[in-house]
């Protein structure tokens, strides 16, 4: 077994810098950073040396259009070598502007076009259930703007009706949906019989508690609220 170098949360700015990202100027891209850190640091049962373990938890980054935080956390946790961050989006780089699972073994899905991760996550949960694998969790990260895509609502309805209790959706809510979600995002899940939690998106303990809360017989939606994205004119 090889043990890759592990970094801490304090190392993330340095890793992000290799991707040309810094917190001051890249707020949208980094809205997911704390959620990703808590997931990989404290929640997901997945290891760099066991990526083909059928009992591993699955993390599906659906909001694939801002992958810097994802790549930085993967590097910090030994799923990527830090030097892979250099020259990202170059022609020969494994790290693109959107992640590709066939180029990065740690990425469960290739994403970029919005609204694909949650249906794939429902299928993944159904595939595991059909194989009687009750252990693995399936965690999908989406954005609040991404929820505009109708395919999500096909998946939210079915997951609720089928009671897919190994499925968790994290909605990073930076108020970027064009027409907003009056009444709050969580209500869209509540009516489909999901368990829901809404927590501050940068509070590690609150995220951890929400992501590990019990939700027997029902899927779980965790809405992680962050600062509003700057709206383009």
């Amino acid at each position: 077994m090889t043990t890759a170098t592990q970094f801490g949360y304090a190392d993330l700015p340095r890793l992000l810098a290799r991707l040309g990202g810094d917190e001051k100027h890249d707020r949208t891209a980094l809205s997911t950073l704390d959620v990703l850190w808590v997931l990989y640091d404290r929640v997901l049962a997945v290891r760099p040396d066991r990526l083909d373990d059928p009992e591993r938890d699955r993390f599906l980054l659906s909001k694939g259009h801002s992958p810097k935080a994802y790549y930085a956390v993967l590097a910090a946790k030994g799923f990527l070598r830090p030097e892979q961050l250099d020259g990202w989006t170059g022609f020969a780089s494994a790290l693109g502007g959107h992640p590709d699972r066939t180029l990065i073994p740690a990425a469960e899905i290739a994403s970029g076009s919005l609204g694909h991760g949650l249906p794939l996550g429902v299928g993944t949960a159904l595939g595991l259930r059909a194989q009687h694998r009750r252990g693995p969790r399936v965690v999908v990260l989406v954005g609040d703007g991404e929820l505009d895509e109708g395919s999500n609502h096909e998946a939210i309805a079915l997951a609720g009706r089928l009671g897919l209790d190994r499925l968790t959706v994290v909605v990073v809510d930076n108020s970027s949906a064009t027409h907003g979600w009056p009444g709050g995002i969580a209500t869209r899940f509540v009516v489909e019989d999901w368990a829901t939690r809404t927590v501050p998106g940068h509070d590690h303990d609150a995220l951890h508690e929400a992501l590990t809360s019990e939700h027997p017989g029902r899927p779980l939606a965790v809405v992680a609220t962050t600062e509003p994205a700057r709206r383009s004119a």
Partner: protein, 306 residues
């Protein structure tokens, strides 16, 4: 459950029976539905509630779920009406299967205009041409229910991306399926490639012509070697494609197969230049597109005399 073969069985019945057997035999197999055909899969769903999934009338989810199940190592068979399987969720077909590097068997019913009276919304003459924009798809266009049984069984054993296009139309008897076009008749003046359910019409239309007739129940991959051998054995490098979907869908494959052979191609199929706003029966549409025996015969005669 009875076997899937025999007279009176439709392609859809052969598909449902075979998929039911595959569910019984292979724990990797799952069937994903979007309301269509849920009634005929009810028995299989009772036997395998975790492997027969009806997502409701949600076709983006139909393909996304198939992709997700494939990511866990399952072998999903996703099924609905052709326009709702290939056209409506086309981006899911592109991204949730191909781009993820996983496969599924997509099984459609309805074909180009099986439900002619249903109108344009339920017609899919462009399905094969659309899939042709994506790499790595195997496309089967069976001409008989018995061919459906063999093609589905073969597809279930792989992890490939496979499209199985069922129709109510068809030929009087089945032909062996597998790699390569079947040589049904040899002649000197042209090579006619008949795809799936148009075969009997092609045989009738060319009964008194000195032409080679090749039968294709699999069009992707395209049997370039078989076509080339047939063309080189004839006196003239003239090829007629007769396809039950958009005319010319395979013309580029013929051009590639004969890249170094001066040749002519005549491509027959569903017209591309008009949206035919007619109802009626499939035979009415065959006639309007020149895919009835008379239309096929007239154009092959004209081509081989030119």
């Amino acid at each position: 459950m009875s076997g899937a073969t025999g007279t009176g069985t439709t392609m859809r019945e052969a598909f449902v029976a075979t998929a039911g057997h595959l569910l019984d035999e292979d724990p990797r197999v799952a069937v994903v539905l979007a309301a269509i055909s849920a009634d005929v899969f009810a028995d299989a769903a009772r036997r395998h509630p975790d492997r027969v999934i009806d997502v409701g009338i949600r076709e983006q989810l139909l393909v996304g779920v198939a992709g997700g199940m494939a990511l866990t190592g399952m072998r999903p068979i996703a099924h609905t009406y052709a326009p709702f399987l290939v056209e409506r969720p086309f981006e899911q077909v592109k991204l949730d299967l191909g781009h993820q590097g996983v496969g599924a068997v997509l099984v459609s019913v309805g074909a180009s205009y099986d439900w002619a009276a249903g109108g344009r919304t339920h017609h899919a003459p462009g399905d094969v041409a659309l899939l042709d924009t994506l790499p790595g798809w195997t496309v089967h266009v069976p001409g008989h229910p018995d061919e459906v049984v063999d093609l589905l069984r073969r597809a279930a054993r792989t992890d490939d991306r496979v499209y199985l296009r069922l129709t109510n139309d068809g030929n009087a008897r089945a032909h062996p399926v597998g790699a390569g076009f079947q040589v049904l008749r040899t002649g000197r003046r042209a090579v006619v490639v008949a795809v799936g359910p148009v075969l009997d019409r092609v045989l009738a239309a060319t009964a008194r012509l000195d032409v080679t007739v090749l039968y294709a129940s699999t069009v992707r991959p395209f049997d370039a070697v078989g076509l080339r051998a047939a063309v080189l054995a004839a006196d003239r490098a003239d090829v007629v494609l007769v396809e039950p979907y958009l005319a010319g869908t395979s013309t580029h494959a013929v051009a590639e197969a004969l890249a170094d052979v001066p040749h002519r191609v005549r491509a027959l199929g569903v017209r591309r230049d008009v949206e035919l706003r007619g109802y009626g029966e499939p035979a009415d549409h065959d006639a309007a597109h020149g895919l009835d025996v008379a239309g096929i015969a007239a154009r092959i005669h004209a081509f081989t005399r030119a």
